[in-house]
Symmetry: C2
Subunit: 360 residues, 2 copies
């Protein structure tokens, strides 16, 4: 039996270090066999939502809905809350895909696009429109570019009537966001929470729900529309049989994060990110892909490799460390490294040392 590898891939990634223990507990408690209409499940759901609010300091009017993936959230947000027009800040594959979903679903979608590795500046946004919904990707998992937090506050000022929706798939809850200026926020459990894939989290506030109610009945026609979610949320249930096991695991990882403290998680994250970027900047043949330091993601670190991608991945793999290749067209030009809460300082230091010895 070979030793386990340390996954620094950007999601699915390494499991949170307590997940195996929680899985054993789940089996002992027979969590996979409990009914999703039982009180036991409702308590898990409610506990998960409450802990998430407590951990990240979320507004009390946020509701947590469970989808199958963040990809699903794009569709459900549009179907639930938009009649005609949306605005998308596009700076990579995932922000672009949300824009394309809106186009495919026949919405009048506008995009403001900048090259990968950049972020859309607030000054470059159109002033003559007031879109129903704005899609901004806080952390572009494809490029490692991160929208500055203050931009999200500026968005609210510029577009006071619009619903501000934030893709925080690979940054929540590590990066502190201005949640009171955000109407919908979504995340994937296989990123910062270190869980197996197969569950998306979708947070919506009262404003989002109000807009959604105005659309019904022509809008929310899906079983996974805001109205269906909201109706079941009243008793902490879901419109269809959910991934009960993953929700249970999320509730347990949230307990662990609360016990450790988000402040400590955030401080460690900054340290790990700093030594990774410092290494990349100190080398001759690799360098951070995102040039502007203000835009560099703390949780997804992307490096140019001068065609050394396969070589680096293979050499690290021999040492038991797994990093990701570049996304899409950057497959052979980049490596991508996740810096999630489960990655310990020691693990990241080891990665830094190995990379340092490995490349010029």
């Amino acid at each position: 039996m070979s030793a386990k590898k340390i996954f620094f891939t950007t999601g699915p990634s390494a499991l949170f270090y307590t997940v195996e223990e929680h899985l054993r507990t789940a089996l002992r408690k027979q969590i996979p066999s409990i009914s999703h209409r039982s009180k036991a499940f409702s308590q898990i759901y409610q506990h998960t939502e409450e802990q998430l609010k407590q951990l990240a300091g979320l507004p009390q009017d946020y509701r947590l809905f469970f989808t199958s993936s963040a990809t699903e959230v794009w569709e459900r947000m549009l179907q639930s809350a938009v009649v005609s027009d949306t605005l998308h800040l596009v700076n990579g594959a995932f922000s672009k895909r949300f824009f394309q979903v809106a186009q495919k679903l026949q919405y009048q979608a506008i995009s403001v696009e900048v090259p990968p590795g950049n972020v859309v500046s607030m000054e470059g946004l159109p002033t003559e429109v007031m879109p129903e919904l704005i899609g901004v990707t806080h952390n572009e998992t494809s490029t490692g570019a991160q929208q500055p937090v203050k931009d999200l506050e500026i968005l609210r000022t510029k577009y006071p009537e619009s619903l501000i929706t934030v893709d925080a798939v690979s940054s929540f809850p590590v990066i502190d966001l201005p949640f009171y200026q955000i109407d919908a926020l979504y995340f994937s459990v296989q990123k910062c929470f270190g869980l197996p894939a197969g569950l998306g989290g979708w947070l919506v506030n009262d404003r989002f729900i109000e807009k959604s109610k105005q659309l019904a009945p022509t809008g929310n026609t899906s079983y996974h529309g805001v109205d269906s979610f909201l109706e079941k949320h009243g008793k902490y249930q879901t419109p269809s049989t959910p991934n009960v096991l993953a929700i249970y695991l999320l509730s347990r990882v949230l307990e662990d994060m609360l016990e450790k403290g988000l402040e400590r998680i955030r401080m460690e994250s900054k340290y790990k990110s700093a030594i990774l970027y410092h290494l990349l900047e100190s080398k001759q043949t690799i360098a951070p892909f995102v040039k502007d330091t203000k835009w560099r993601s703390e949780t997804v670190i992307v490096s140019e490799t001068m065609d050394q991608t396969n070589n680096i991945i293979e050499k690290l793999n021999q040492k038991g460390l797994v990093v990701g290749s570049g996304y899409g067209g950057f497959k052979d030009q980049h490596i991508r490294i996740a810096n999630f809460p489960t990655h310990s300082k020691e693990q990241v230091e080891m990665l830094v040392d190995l990379l340092d010895a490995m490349v010029d």
Copy 2:
């Protein structure tokens, strides 16, 4: 620590008896950390599809797509393959819900409805229509009524132009169906496969795919439409990050079922079902809810209880056995008992003995 209970609930139910071991193997192999774009995942997906075809004797043109639930399949089937009209055979809560989904999504949906505990007779179907899609629920989990297998063949003869879609959520693969007469079939892994909830299986044939292609681009607008699934299926990937762990577990349970042999599983199923119905028929105060023996489900056994539901559930619970309450309006009037492959003959015999001693 209390002893584990035996779940006879109709899904989520007892885990298949090998699942805990497979979960340990999955953790050892770090399955939750592998990328859904990796060759390792594609191999798992392909292996799962091939084994499923082999186990159940499915047509070679069937493709297996993964959704989050069977509920999702209703929406995706309509969006992918229907322009205007559908026909629904309604005999319980789940068949009715598919009809309601079609109505909500603005399709011209016709239903032929019979009271719970019955099945729609082939003679009672309208002859003047040729709906684009027909929805038939092979096994009504809410009532324990099962559509006779030969009816599915008759449907094809009566409606040669229609897509025949079969809800086999709680009967596949235990009951042998005329798969060559079925264009789409869907199932839930938390029923007969004994897996944790959070994954739906959707099988479509060439005919379904052809109809779906005629609709594009106005039809298949979702990321989970047949066209998106099909495109990714070409390399055994999925349109969004799937529940990789559940797919792996399904592949392993399929291996186990192949080794045991479906014939043996089916023979055991018949035996267990026979002793359960025999017990119900022998008692004074409880009785099978489905009166016509031809319509009685082999996998979901529903009993009338003359208001003893809570009493029976509580008493069995004290003995470590968990059975389900009635569905919806039958909550306090019925008990529902799953007879899935993971339930051993000995477990069902114990349940029969306890029920026999417990009720008059």
